[in-house]
Amino acid sequence: MTYNIMTCGVGGQGLMLVSNILGQACAEQGLEIRTAEVHGLAQRSGSIYTHIRIGDKVYSPLIPYGEADVLLGMEAIEALRYIEFLKPDGNIILNNYLWYPVQSTFERVKNPEISYISIEKILEQLEKVSKNIHMIDALDLAHQAGNPLTSNVVLLGALTNIDGFPLKIEQLKEIIPRIVPEKAIDANLKALLLGFESK
């Protein structure tokens, strides 16, 4: 069996750290993992994603449409952008966060009366595929953890608490100190726990 996680967000949100922590944990636990990432344009406020596939035997780095067990959206607009990958009734972990594209601001400068897209509108569409939506204010929890840059690890914590997810939170806790800078270890561990408990 392969466990598929489609993570997505906006360049600069720290998707790479999430797949790195999972990769290191899988290496320790003797699980296979294969990821497909986007680089290059990733830092320029563009739409980014990582396919993460964990199991006993993983062939393709890309998840086929409709086969992701989890869609992890670090940004709400981007969660909907990759909805074709989610299984019907699969799990959605949704960060309650909108990063408005400048193209939308461009439209509003032309016509200020139109509004940006809302979380409610996005939820309405996501619910047509799955009602298993866990929405988190990751930025708020990251602040509680002591570092606003740990939103990504908050979401990783929530992922760890999903039924069927093949790794345990303790296994990720061991990896984090080896990957993040020393002064950020405590905040990241706290962020992981807050995310886990949010579910």
Binding site: G23, T35, G40, R44, P64, G66, E78, W99
Partner: protein, 659 residues
Amino acid sequence: MIQDVISEDKSKAFLFCNEAIVRAALESDVKVVAFYPGSPVSEILDTFYRISNNFDIKMEVATNEKVALEIVAGASMGGQRSLTAMKSVGLNVASDTFFSLGYTGINKGCVLVFADDPFCHSSQSEEDGRFFASNAYIPMLEPSDPVEAKEMVKHAFEISEKFKTIVLIRTTTRINHQSTIVPLDPLNRTVFESTSFREGEKKYSTVGSKAREYKLMMLQRRDKIKDEFEKSQFNFVIEGYPNFGIITSGVSYNYVLEVCDKLDIRPPILKLGTTYPLPENLISNFIKKLKGVIIVEELSPYLELNVKALAKDTNPDIIIIGKESGHFSEAFEYNIPIIFNVFREIYNIKSDTDYRTLLENRNKLKSILPIRIPVFCPGCPHRATFWALNRAIGGKSNEIAFMNDIGCYSMLLLNNDIYSKLNPDDLLLSMGATLGTGSGVSLASKEKVISVIGDSTFFHAGLPGMVNICHNNEDVIVIVLDNSVTAMTGQQTNPGTPVGDPKKKIHIENILKGIGFEDLTINDCFDARNCIPSFKKALGEKGPSVIISRGPCALWNDRNKRRRGEKIQPYYVDRDVCRKCHTCMRDFYCPAISMEETMTEFTDENDKTWKGFSSHVSPELCDGCGVCSIICPYTNHEERSAKDVIKPYKTPREVRHDL
């Protein structure tokens, strides 16, 4: 992770493919490496850059791919193992030297990793570089994942030394940008000791009669390598039934295995890892007994045409399913659904899986989504430069022709709507082409030509074009966008980056003055308003004008700030005095600035009421460049006061730690 790339004690590690390639080179005791960055192989350079101090390795960030290839070829001829990596269009640049190397051969192991980019994720064209190998008679290996990439790079050094030829490793974006758990072997590094070029047995000159002699040798070498590849561990058959087989290579191999599992079929599969010269006997034996064969390869029908040629002698009646049969496309990437649909049809399997309908239905849900296109980062110098240029052009867009080039500023093209006054989609071809095409358009047309070129592209391919513009007194405005690094590919250093001894910083203005451009303008692009007059002046003049628009790349600058322990001082919009004029957004479009969704009012000292949606700067995104406060008509950035609309935030913030 970088620690795993240099690990002495681990037996396996979760590695990114480009890291696995570096590990393989280290395990092969590579001594000289040289690169020009390019996606999807930039991280090979980056990884070597970060570890080169840990090892006895000589590394250069070369001015372009041709120079990089010449460095590693020269090092090999001089007696050291060497490696370079480049993207497909980089091999175009290096191809002149590449073809000659097929003739002269090399001495110590010399490996060239090159990556095609199906789907043009980050390239201007979708090339199939496999034809370089057959055209130049240079052997080529094609890995299907990071584990095999590592094995193949190591093996390539051996083949290279055995047959005294450079060896190609051909990857694609989905190989390079894949991570998985990779077995590690001991590093076994030796100390770098200078070798003697003179004591090498060979000479490396090719022209005329020497070239003719080499050509015949090269054909013999090809045949010998082919014999060796017939037995290579990288080509193998997975036995199966029915007698309708599959031939595949590269990343497609993984898709094939997964699709076979999904459809619960076990057809015979020939997986090819040495794709030039092809193991023709192996292929012939595989297809001899088959009723049909499906060829699964991205891009051109390279394997397909070769299989067809072999089938003519061994099995003329075989059914060949591929691109020419209309089952697969020559365009873009493959994935599981594409291959699933073909296999289901050919093997006649009943399945309820309907990827097409699923995709259509899900896409319908996205109709509400706004587009999100990569843009200049908060704090990017280019945004300031193009704001000023926009102002200088004013309503005269129709009177200019805009020559774009390769770099972050290529993104102007993606954001054509936002930057429409510049006509950013006029022309964009390849590295440095902004200059030659600028000359040509200026000769032919009445529009005023603006050519933009970045600092790294200037060093890479800009010099011949600049000399040409100066020599011919071309009517072209050249704007050199100098942000100090090769920004687009990950802020690698270039000859203009201040990296310290013993590397010498090359000053672009000195080069330009040396060429003969005496009247140079050098702008601090973050002082955006004061840059407008120089652009206006250039637009009004005849003959070449050169403007260097200077300001550090925001990402590189942030990383330097973090190293120095500095923080970022974000700005904010004081909505109580904001006139809602949107000047800070219009023609500027910083990702850190958005428009508020609640209307507010402000009455100024003349009792005039300004009502509307104020702008908002996100403190977590703002990079503190302050250009929005310079372009705000109601902010005096030179003498700050409470009346200002856009002003520095009370508390600075930390620089992101992943930069």
